[in-house]
């Protein structure tokens, strides 16, 4: 069940963010507060997104999976999500509008398979994904992710 993998307080809803950098700051904050990641991990995600090809974390369907390498600052495998009512452009690229950004902190390349299975199950289910993308408050979002 996907909801069991979210950091406590890690399901966030906002009307809008000023840009993708603010989205990264918002979605990583619960993980930073819980010491699941360090500040270095947040910097690594921003550097990755702004690098050539950095929009590869856009999975399609308005969903992005923000992540970086474990050695840049993952203390513990964890997950958070931010849904915004008004989409923002990933890397300021209009070809990549994002309304739901997950943040994955993974300790290594394989250990988080159960989490990824649950996340893949949600994102490839068009009805469940639509419920996430049309959530209009934090409660609806949490229900859609359950």
């Amino acid at each position: 069940m996907l909801s069991s993998y979210f950091q406590q307080g890690g399901v966030l809803y906002a009307d809008r963010v000023s840009d993708w950098r603010e989205a990264v700051d918002e979605v990583t904050r619960p993980l930073l507060d819980a010491d699941a990641i360090t500040g270095g991990y947040i910097d690594a995600i921003k550097t990755s997104i702004s690098s050539p090809g950095g929009t590869y974390i856009d999975l399609g369907g308005g969903v992005a999976l923000a992540h970086a390498r474990p050695e840049t600052g993952v203390n513990r495998t964890s997950l958070s999500v931010l849904h915004v009512d008004e989409p923002f452009d990933l890397a300021d690229d209009a070809a990549h509008p994002i309304s739901t950004m997950f943040c994955l902190a993974a300790e290594d390349s394989n250990a988080h398979i159960d989490l990824m299975q649950a996340l893949a199950g949600l994102l490839t289910d068009t009805d469940r994904l639509a419920a996430v993308n049309t959530a209009s408050d934090a409660d609806e979002l949490a229900k859609a992710l359950a």
């Binding site: 950095g54 399609g60 993974a106 290594d108 490839t124």
Partner: protein, 98 residues
């Protein structure tokens, strides 16, 4: 037959794509195809038979292997299933559930 996926970190987008390809293989009724995910820098021409990548690293993936499939969406199961079936047929693997 081996299919691999790659992204810059080798643990997020590529892992998700690998799991979705495995689901496509199950839907197609195909057994015995090996899958894996890795970072793009680790891919060599002999890593697998087919490499799947997202559109944003298509350029970096060009020429890495003979058979490279570029996906616009990493979560669109209809297209992923279609692309996997086509890749299997290119490599002579029968696809019962097509």
């Amino acid at each position: 037959m081996k299919i691999i996926t790659a992204c810059s970190t080798g643990l997020g987008s590529s892992f998700m794509t690998q799991l979705n390809i495995e689901k496509a293989l199950r839907n197609l009724g195909v057994d015995g195809v090996e899958t894996d995910h890795m970072d793009i820098a680790s891919v060599t021409p002999t890593s697998a038979d087919v490499l799947f990548v997202g559109r944003d690293i298509a350029e970096a993936a060009t020429g890495l292997m003979k058979d490279v499939v570029v996906l616009d969406s990493l979560i669109d199961m209809d297209n992923i299933t279609k692309q996997v079936a086509a890749a299997l047929e290119r490599h002579g693997v029968a696809v019962p559930g097509k």
